[in-house]
Homo-oligomer: 310 residues x 4
């Protein structure tokens, strides 16, 4: 299981052959050309079997996203805005100005890991101007891209904790690049979860957790697959071939041999990604930022948000 | 005085016609082709008159610096390393691994404000690898460029305070782009102080202070002028002309008229800078980073530092 | 005259106190909030007196441009598209697919010199896809930013000549950063000319000419001031002061003294620019590219152009 | 064969099981820790069988290269300098100042395709200063990175031809990112050839050829693998598995099925690359540029080259 590495809960579920896992539930529906899958992992045993923490996972998926279809982009941004707003707690009367802290995880210098910083670049941060300029119904937002070159010696999530202590957020909204199992999901799928960030997740392989327990505020995450691990790809190709040969699955020792061989060749940790990944990340960052800006500023129009972005 | 804006204590002193200010002291000497000026501001009254906080200011100056003379570069880096080491407290037995936190102030996207981030890029950060890899006599250093984090909604110095609380530094070493009064000092002068950062200082005009009082650790600053404010230049040209006309100083109302005129034309906040400022900043960042790396790692050779930088 | 350096013909005219110069003509009118000035230099003597080559110069000016007023941006882009289309020759029946070669002069690494490359980034180039994809009524356009880091040892205009020989353009459309005399024109004025590029013009100070004579195709130029030379600013401040003192103009030897002093201090070649110049250039590049794309693709809608840009 | 895509002649040879191919010859030796392989393809039939043009191919290989071993870096740079010098023609008495045109192929915005532009950034270009400044024994060099010029509508090699006509080079030295078959060669192998660039070669998949026939000057190429194509990896994993099953090779229809499946999933054109590819490219560009600078300036010391680089 660990080498069939995926950050998408829907794919973890697929690994189990879709069958009934007690304590987990999958629903699928379609809306405006977008395929939506909801995975709810309710029990610890299901969490263990799927290798994913308990919580809710929502994926929005459309092959047209990767083709930059303008209608599907608008539809995804609108749906994302709705779902983010639903997952986030409302401002509380005691701390009406507690900001939402948007965190763009990942490293800008590594393209398939740069989705988070790219989204932060396009997020409307308002915390520094509240009460000074801008519409009065504006809500407090601050944004940080902790892994951007310029910090060294401090882990990204350690920095997020430090900033969180300083600004006392109402919620944290993380954006991260993900690894998928199926290469077709690169650039075509967005996942939204309320489970926080786990060690080892994301393309950047975070070493710490970032959860409500660790930071004292709900943590919602948005991600998009940008890579498949080479080991995953090889293993799947392998299994596929075995099935062609009439076997149910490749024999265990063959798989073990192959993995040793991949590791020896340093391929295991290599990533598989489309050549046009730069354009895919730029495009997706616009859609995700649009969804975030709408969700965080329910009283502002798109035009008002755009005007304040510069 | 405020429009004769300079971040160099030696220039603030020049404004007073060099005469004796009670509670302040200037010394000048020369070493290996480098002109060194030390300003000590000991009394509150002198601090008020000079518009600079109490403390020690050391400037290293050579016109050859701007011409990229290789010998003077090595000499400046060596002298800077010595003086930084002298200003920083030694590691204490109680917290032998408390890091020095290097802070590169400024905005990478604005060339004359990008010295700090450029130096951080070349600073050897070790905190994350202490005890794991590297020579055992390595000291703990972390580095942060808060204005290039893709951070918005959080002021740079607010972030530095948050990080400082998280890592408990033995000292903070800030690097910043400065404004000079005399354009000849752009790229040719490095100032080292133990006074912390004051509101309004630097090319980026920090809105908060960063001092031992605010962060609980000594704050040492290194800076180099990259700009002259247009208002400063115009005012000085003005005064110069008045002197040519045999007047001691331009009449007050003429100066006031000129400033109104400059502000109306939006010139007051404009910056004057050499066209080759990109190259000047790149070059200076290498020298300053070399001085910092040597000062912070007294047991490592230049070659060891270079080998660990990648 | 040479130190009152300006690339704007309208400012060269102002230097002459607006009076009648035989062989030159200035007209001014207003349209939709945009102030338009047309300078026609018809005679060699007028060209010599104004320090500008013979030809037509059109400036579009609005202080709202710098404030990023969305309405004025649209109005300027529309007017610019019209005027560029009027200056360019139509496709000829003999060479219906001869491209327009858009040339973004300047150096991307020097912000006030980066307008040209920024416009090229947003120009719709079609030459490589004609007949393969896209609407059939699409016209051939190619675009080049010759001074972008990546070329050394070859002058920008030498490269433009080489490319011009290779692609046989119907016309060349240059975009360049300009120097103004009046700082208020930075970011608020766009100049359009049919005179080609002259040695010494632009912020990058081209060493060669680029004219119909040198490349065999009409050369139209679009530019926006991004800097004032420090020497120009000082000289104007000087003259202004002299007038305050009731003198017609500062005495010649005082001016000469001042210039010697500025040169000694290396200030002469320094530039004066707003701190927000990065944002000004980004913003203006969007407006200018929009005007260019519309002018070069008269049969495509804005939406079609936008869809093909990615 | 075409899907077992490799730009390394030594790997094309491996595909043939190393056996004797008439008209081709492989030699291997070791020097200072570097494994050197020379492939000479002398006959058209061998060229067809190996899918590589006739000519000489030299690969320098060391696993230590990827680990950034400082000694091996120096050794590789020295060896590369020697071999480049040997492949290039000497300056001729008739055109003593004909430059070597260094061409950095590839796109800076796509990391695994950015080796060429990165090397050009570090190449000492001298053509514009010959006779004006610098040591008199300096040779003429110009450098161009055609894919980062902000050029659109003009193919890279079309631009190289245009520049070549303009500067009349003594030789062209291309640098490009390559695709390998074996992932272990990414970042550890440098190939030097005298065959020019072929259509379809390189990570950027050039559409034209660049050869002595097309440009009238010898074309020498230096490249380093930065990717393996996903289809190559899958196919090799496949063959490996077949061998595990005791088959000589996977059955043809199974391979065909797999390829159809990969193409359907858009995986065929995907690239496999290490996550640290940014650092690998930066590092290799320094080594290759050092080799080039030494080869092109045989009378300058390393220190003189470094001093002139800024």
């Amino acid at each position: 299981m660990p080498t069939r590495r995926t950050d998408l809960a829907m794919e973890a579920f697929e690994n189990t052959d879709g069958g009934g896992i007690p304590g987990a539930r999958v629903s699928r529906w379609e809306s405006g050309g977008i395929e939506i899958t909801e995975v709810v992992i309710a029990e610890a045993e299901a969490s263990r079997m799927l290798g994913k923490p308990k919580g809710n996972y929502l994926t929005l998926e459309s092959p047209l996203l990767r083709e930059r279809d303008p209608d599907i982009r608008l539809a995804i941004a609108a749906l994302l805005a709705e779902e983010i707003a639903r997952m986030l707690p409302d401002p509380s009367p005691e701390a009406p100005n507690a900001p939402v802290l948007v965190v763009g995880l990942g490293n800008r210098a590594i393209t398939p890991d740069s989705l988070g910083p790219a989204v932060v670049d396009r997020t409307l941060a308002t915390r520094h101007m509240l009460g000074r300029i801008g519409p009065t119904q504006m809500r407090s937002v601050c944004a940080i891209a902790p892994g951007v070159l310029g910090i060294t010696g401090i882990e990204s999530l350690e920095l997020v904790e430090a900033v969180s202590r300083a600004v006392g957020p109402r919620a944290i909204l993380c954006v991260d690049s993900l690894a998928a199992r199926d290469a077709m999901r690169i650039g075509s799928t967005i996942q939204l979860t309320d489970t926080g960030i786990q060690p080892g997740a994301g393309v950047g392989n975070h070493r710490r957790a970032l959860t409500e327990e660790s930071v004292g505020a709900p943590v919602v995450s948005v991600g998009m697959p940008t890579v498949v691990y080479a080991a995953t790809l090889a293993r799947d190709a392998f299994a596929w071939l075995a099935r062609q040969n009439g076997e149910e699955d490749p024999p265990g020792e063959a798989l073990a041999d192959m993995e040793r061989s991949l590791l020896r060749a340093d391929i295991g940790e290599m990533i598989v990604t489309p050549r046009e990944i730069d354009a895919i990340v730029q495009d997706a960052s616009g859609i995700i930022a649009s969804g975030i800006n709408r969700a965080l500023q329910p009283s502002l129009s798109d035009a008002e948000i755009a005007a304040m972005m510069n």
